[in-house]
């Protein structure tokens, strides 16, 4: 404590000189101090690329005057000899909320949703706050500053971490001695954005990631439009945003998925985001490289799970176990791929664990050079402040660390962290290391004294004839004090000893005995013991060496259970002697061969020959086109943007989840193509993602090439919020009557919008209107969730009034009641085979629906809307035979060719026809039978599912799980802290699901 007070006092003295020179002084006289300080004989790491041996660093006030071998030292210089020591620039953390209190959560207890913005004069959405300034909420936080300074940081970027557009961040030196006029280096240095809404507002929109993305895009369009002076009203948010144009933009992604999503938006608008990652970037390194963005990477690593209870261990999924095992390699893997990144303490509860985590990252392969850059020059450059921070070049702030050796060496001690010329002592470098074993002689008695602990925090262990005696030892300012209660004395009285330290290894001093008599004492250092200590050290080193090559499980594609070890390749395959369900005029061909080559169906016929083809004997087996699910909600992280009654601006393509195990499970059921639809929370929903289930490829690769455009509409109970509870009675529409008017309103506006756009007059680019205009221009197709006949009829009439057609009614459970009208309109029906009775509007849903619509000449598909049903859609097709007597050949088309037609991709998929994509399924029996299993599923000639590989996968997963569990148990035995097992509670989406965020 005393020591602390003293050093505070010293610092205070140093700092008196920093008063602003035009400020009046009423306490004492006005002084100034222009002294220099020189640090000599040190190894100075000016920057990661420049090191000066035996050099001098000269500083004055807050800055570096010069550094080098031959620095001329002015007369008014205090010289500090740093022989044998190193100097490094202090670290920079550009991503913190240092000194900025968290935004308070909106405290309203209302359960009714809020659709409008709360702020006046700003953008229509509360979560867009480019006008928010971190600086306005800034209060220098001394305790946190100390924590960061102790971890080696000198400067941080800080901002208010709330909202989608979060406004500006500032840069501040962690200088506790001066005021904000000196330590705040830039009040508005960076712009901040994220996908997360502000906690201060209850405004409902957006409630999904895709909604956040659409909102950001619209804001950028609006800002441009506003800048051009087209707005009749003023908008302080847009105005500010336009003024911030030149600031670097930092995007808080916090996950690999969002890294890629943010980068996508940035590219669309010609912006460069600096992306704050999630630490799981290693799961998609190639995609990360492709973004070309700069990153800020957290080094929070997953602790091992406590898997000592097998029951609980079973809850942890392989993916999460791997995250523990692999995530420490994240910085190393990013470095290897040449990704530019800064490191941050963000996500860590305390900066105290920063060093140990950094050492872990280094152990897992991060180079020390890169670590150094990522903490100094890279963040400095990203902040546009390279000339001021990050190096010790002349003119830079005097922010530097004095260390005992190489900074990222485990044994290295950081003695001091100077920030803007102010010293912060972390470990007193002048403290003598008195640790060791001594023979203590006091008043004729001989004790064994062992001094151990960290320098600056030493402790003692005192023994008399092998009996431990309570003792207390402290060392400060060149003195050592020891007190203890001698044995056999009943009273709690102390022997108090003190000594001034000298150059000798031994300690000699004076003291007071319990009886008050003065005495002198000595502690003679034992030489032998030192050797032991050394031995111990080398032992430890040996252990460290062992640790140097940690076992990291190989990544798979995707990096979850059932991922591929190596990505599967296109093959030339000849299937011999199968029953082929062509879905073409040839019908069902028996004993026929199919040749797959270059990803296409190359030949269909008898006794085919193909040199170089892998031959598969398909005798007794059946081949069909891959199954197509017209209505799916797998492989996505969002389903509904329910914040508005129309959300044409959002698209599922933004939120495709390529790692979803349901992709693999669907492949195992013969599914090759799916339309991932927006949900049914609103009359006008979002746009679809049309995917091929290329398991192991990235989200972008899953998307169909040259895909037709689709959007989801919805009718009935879901859009009028009938089953959302009694609080959801605010949003229009609440009745089927209102639903019609939503469409009339939006299409009318879209028509007017399109006319204006085509006229060449200036117009406000509105993503929603653009999409609706595509529908009017017949460039985008509608798939509409629908149940009862009245609304089905209504939507067809609305479309006819605007001169376009509805493409598909999905669910369409009362389609059979208006099949003639549907036929006349030219719309297809994608329905369930047999679902009903789950809500009031499906009372009249019948399993004969498909057959009736089919008999009326409508293109009919069966879909799943369900991750479970989708993996056996072939069996659902069989129900068309059972209910209504559709022929088997036509029934199979319900899940292959017909959905292909509805999706306008029947030129590429949906049948076994020469020239079409080789998206095919090999079945071990009749494809409509409950007893039949898919043996192999191919997309474009690549086998993504195969029975034998699957059996091997099951074994491999068990093996890897058990290896990882053993590794975690070892960690626990070593005393490593563990965390309770977690289980990702997988969310299965349906039409009415909301994202849980």
């Amino acid at each position: 404590m005393k020591k602390l007070l003293l050093s505070c006092l010293l610092l205070f003295l140093v700092n008196q000189l920093n008063a602003q020179d035009y400020f009046p002084v009423n306490e004492g006289i006005k002084t100034s101090n222009e002294k220099h300080t020189a640090f000599t004989n040190a190894t100075i790491h000016i920057s990661p690329t420049q090191t000066i041996e035996n050099g001098t660093l000269l500083i004055q006030n807050q800055k570096v005057v010069s550094s080098g071998k031959n620095v001329s030292i002015p007369k008014n210089t205090t010289i500090i000899d740093l022989k044998g020591k190193h100097i490094y620039p202090s670290f920079i953390d550009m991503y913190t909320n240092f000194g900025i209190a968290k935004t308070k959560r909106n405290s309203s207890t209302s359960r009714r949703p809020q659709y409008d913005a709360s702020r006046n004069g700003y953008y229509w959405n509360d979560h867009i706050m480019p006008d928010q300034r971190g600086f306005d909420d800034f209060n220098f936080d001394k305790a946190k500053a100390k924590e960061l300074v102790s971890a080696g940081f000198g400067v941080v970027g800080t901002h208010q971490q709330d909202g989608i557009m979060r406004g500006t961040g500032m840069v501040v030196a962690l200088n506790k001695n001066d005021g904000d006029e000196i330590r705040v280096l830039n009040t508005d240095a960076t712009q901040h954005i994220s996908f997360s809404k502000s906690v201060a507002s209850r405004q409902a929109y957006p409630n999904s990631t895709m909604g956040s993305m659409a909102l950001l895009r619209q804001v950028y369009h609006d800002a441009k439009w506003y800048a051009a002076g087209n707005s009749k009203t003023s908008d302080l948010a847009l105005e500010t945003l336009n003024n911030l144009k030149n600031l670097p933009i930092i995007f808080e992604a916090n996950s690999l998925d969002n890294d890629l999503r943010g980068s996508k938006i940035a590219k669309e608008f010609g912006l460069k985001y600096i992306i704050k990652g999630g630490g799981n970037e290693y799961n998609g390194l190639n995609e990360i490289v492709k973004t070309g963005a700069n990153y800020i990477i957290p080094i929070k690593f997953q602790k091992p799970f406590d898997v000592s209870d097998p029951h609980m261990a079973a809850q942890v999924e392989l993916e999460d176990m791997r995250a523990w095992n692999q995530s420490s390699s994240n910085p190393a893997m990013l470095e290897k791929k040449g990704v530019n990144f800064a490191l941050t303490t963000s996500d860590l509860k305390s900066a105290k664990s920063f060093k140990s985590n950094l050492m872990t990252a280094i152990k897992y392969g991060l180079s020390k050079e890169k670590a150094f850059e990522a903490l100094t020059t890279i963040p400095a450059k990203l902040l546009g402040m390279s000339s001021k921070i990050g190096t010790l070049n002349n003119g830079s702030y005097a922010n530097f660390l004095i260390t005992s050796g190489e900074i990222f060496d485990k044994k290295t001690k950081v003695y001091e962290n100077w920030v803007q010329g102010n010293k912060n002592t972390l470990i007193d470098m002048n403290v003598k290391d008195i640790r060791g074993d001594y023979n203590l002689k006091v008043a004729g008695k001989s004790y064994d004294l062992k001094i151990s602990g960290d320098i600056g925090k030493i402790k003692s262990e005192l023994m008399l004839d092998s009996v431990k005696i309570a003792s207390n030892l402290s060392q400060s300012n060149g003195w050592v004090n020891l007190f203890y209660t001698p044995l056999n004395e009943k009273k709690t009285e102390f022997v108090r000893l003190t000594a001034a330290l000298s150059n000798s290894n031994n300690i000699n001093g004076t003291g007071v005995l319990t009886n008050g008599n003065k005495t002198s004492w000595s502690a003679i250092k034992k030489v032998k013991e030192e050797k032991k200590e050394e031995k111990k050290d080398t032992k430890k080193d040996g252990k460290a060496l062992e640790k140097k090559s940690p076992v990291v499980m190989p990544l798979t594609y995707p990096n979850v259970a059932y991922g591929f070890k190596t990505k599967p390749q296109q093959e030339t395959v000849l299937f011999r002697n199968a029953t082929i369900w062509t879905n073409e005029s040839e019908g069902i061909l028996e004993n026929t061969d199919v040749l797959v080559k270059n990803g296409k169906i190359s030949k269909v016929g008898k006794n085919l020959n193909a040199s170089g083809a892998k031959v598969v004997d398909a005798t007794g087996k059946h081949i069909t086109a891959g199954i197509i699910d017209e209505h799916s909600h797998i492989a996505t992280t969002s389903v509904n943007e329910a914040g508005h009654n129309s959300t044409a601006e959002v698209t599922i393509e933004d939120v495709v989840d390529a790692d979803d195990v349901d992709i693999y499970r669907n492949l195992a059921g013969g599914v090759t193509t799916i339309q991932v639809l927006h949900g049914s929370a609103n009359p006008i929903g979002g746009r679809s993602a049309l995917l091929k289930l290329k398991w192991g490829e990235s989200a972008d690769e899953l998307l169909y090439k040259n895909r037709p455009k689709f959007i989801k509409f919805a009718l009935g109970e879901n859009v009028k919020q009938s089953n959302w509870g009694d609080n959801n009675t605010v949003r229009f529409p609440q009745t089927r009557m209102g639903v019609e008017q939503v469409y009339m309103d939006y299409f009318q506006r879209a028509k007017e919008y399109d006319t204006k756009k085509k006229s060449g007059k200036p117009y406000r680019k509105d993503i929603e209107m653009e999409v609706l205009a595509e529908i009017l221009n017949k460039e985008r197709f509608i798939t509409c969730h629908s149940y009862v006949q009245s609304e089905i009829n209504m939507l067809m009439k609305v479309a006819e009034r605007f001169d376009f057609n509805i493409n598909t009614f999905t669910h369409i459970l009362e389609g059979y009641k208006v099949a003639d009208k549907m036929k006349e309109h030219g719309v297809g029906g994608s329905t369930f085979s047999d679902w009903w009775a789950y809500k009031f509007e499906v009372n009249d849903a019948i399993p004969y629906n498909g057959a009736i619509m089919h008999n009326q000449g409508i293109t009919v598909a069966f879909n799943s809307d369900d991750a479970e049903m989708s993996r056996r859609l072939n069996q659902e097709a069989a129900k068309a035979v059972k209910y209504g007597g559709v022929s088997e050949e036509e029934a199979l088309k319900f899940v292959t060719l017909n959905p292909a037609k509805l999706l306008h991709i029947d030129d590429k998929v949906g049948s076994i026809k020469v020239g079409k994509d080789a998206d095919i399924v090999l079945w071990d029996g009749h494809p409509l039978s409950v007893y039949t299993k898919a043996e192999r599923t191919m997309i474009e000639g690549v086998t993504y599912f195969d029975k034998d590989t699957n059996n091997q996968n099951i074994k491999d997963i068990q093996k890897e799980r058990s290896e990882l569990i053993n590794m975690m148990l070892q960690e626990k035995n070593k005393g490593m802290k563990t965390v309770p097992p977690k289980k990702k509670e997988k969310v299965y989406f349906h039409c009415d699901s909301l994202e849980n965020r």
Binding site: N723, Y816, A837, Y838, K839, Y848, K882, K983
Partner: protein, 421 residues
């Protein structure tokens, strides 16, 4: 074909059997594993009077149905079902499946069973002719009854009144309630022991009560009587390995002889114990997703075989997503279990004889045997396969029932509309 349409009531129940029936030439799946090709089945006054080969020289009785090329099955039984307790899932007013409270052995499903449910009616055309109507919720949910699906009222419907009491055994693992501010993810359930102790106390209280003069009357304690005298079955809805073993020990301790494990997600891990102790399992339907991303993607399809191979008596319970409307897919769950390794006749037992045994109605139904109820049907083909499950005739207790439903009526009505256009 014009049908008189009454959209809001079930098919009129058939009158008692007065005409005798003979079904000749079909492949008969007896439900006990046996198959008789070219069979002869006869029934009179609601009971089966003959089961054998068509070659048998015996006088045919009553109306003879030529069923050559077709298949005959005993009526399927949907166990652990809520049919007739809820009509439309999303309409609260139509929902009677779950009473409020925690320990409700005295709650009886039978009296709320709606014989006129349009949903239940739609099960019959797929061969599902009986069900165990089971209350949900709480720790002890209540008492179930076994009914047949052709009745004017619940008294007509019942086949075994109050067959058993259902308990939702707690899990050793509880999941953080994130909406209540708790950390997400699994953790050890602190209330596990307390909950079981509470049930134990109640059971012991009941035993003491039953020994005494039963005054004042305690409806709850009284309702547990059947568990101790063996007249009722204790259905424990439980998934985990350790929990199943705990439940078995619990019943042994309390002298509950008739234990049935319902769900039994981990039952295969303790299959030897279940087989040795002759404890049957009502497993979940096959059409479900694996419980974790790592699990064998086909585990839900293989579960039955893993138990049957070890000698466990297995039936299928219907509980799950949209269970009432999905009950008509019961045969296909059995079919899926057959697709993944189980013998087809063995799979059939899971919805006929095994279920009948488990529910204690095997003296009446579950197999095609002389003396049992003539609750059976004829299908064009294999009834476990949706491709061929097409019923031509069905009988409940000898009554020839209609295979029409609200749904077939609409089908015909609208087909006719277009035909006449």
């Amino acid at each position: 074909m014009l049908v008189s349409v009454s959209l809001f009531a079930q098919q009129t129940p058939a009158p008692p059997q007065t005409t005798d029936f003979t079904i000749e030439g079909a492949t008969a799946h007896l439900g006990n594993g046996e198959v008789i090709k070219n069979s002869l089945i006869m029934f009179s006054k609601g009971k089966i009077t003959f089961v054998g080969k068509a070659e048998t020289k015996i006088g045919r009785i009553g109306k003879v149905i030529d069923a050559k090329g077709k298949h005959v099955y005993p009526g399927f039984i949907a166990a652990n079902s809520t049919s007739g307790l809820v009509e439309v899932d999303a309409v609260r007013a139509s929902n009677d499946k779950q009473e409020t409270g925690t320990y409700l052995p005295h709650i009886r499903s039978l009296i709320a069973y709606n014989t006129e449910s349009k949903v239940t009616e739609s099960l019959r055309p797929n061969g599902v002719l009986m069900g165990q109507i089971t209350p949900r919720g709480g720790i002890i949910s209540g008492t179930s009854s076994v009914v047949q699906f052709d009745a004017w009222n619940w008294e007509d419907a019942t086949m075994r009144t109050d067959d058993g009491i259902h308990m939702n055994w707690p899990s050793k693992i509880s999941f953080g309630r994130w909406w209540a501010g708790e950390e997400k993810g699994p953790k050890s359930n602190k209330n596990y022991k307390t909950t079981i102790d509470e049930v134990r106390t109640m059971m012991n209280d009941s035993k003491s009560y039953l020994k005494g003069n039963k005054s004042p009357k305690n409806l709850v304690l009284e309702s547990l009587k059947g568990l101790f005298d063996g007249s009722q079955t204790f259905y424990v809805h439980v998934g985990g390995e350790k929990e199943i073993l705990d439940a078995i020990a619990f019943c042994e301790e309390l002298g509950i002889d008739n234990l049935v494990i319902v769900h039994g997600g981990d039952a295969h891990k303790v299959a030897d114990v279940l087989a040795a102790k002759k404890i049957p399992v009502l497993i979940d339907r096959a059409h479900r997703l694996p419980s974790s991303s790592d699990e064998d993607i086909h585990f839900p399809f293989k579960h039955a075989k893993m138990l049957v191979d070890k000698g466990v008596v297995v039936g299928i319970g219907i509980e799950g997503q949209m269970e009432r409307m999905n009950s008509r897919n019961l045969p296909f769950y059995a079919g899926t279990y057959a697709a993944y390794g189980l013998d087809k006749e063995e799979a059939l037992k899971m919805i006929t004889s095994n279920t009948a045994k488990i529910l204690g109605v095997d003296d009446k139904v579950g197999t095609l045997e002389v003396g049992k109820d003539a609750t059976l049907f004829i299908s064009e083909g294999d009834a476990l396969d949706m491709r061929t499950n097409i019923l031509t005739d069905a009988f409940i207790q000898g009554r020839k029932i209609s295979l029409e439903s609200h749904q077939t009526k609409l089908w015909k009505r609208y087909s006719n509309k277009y035909k006449n256009q």
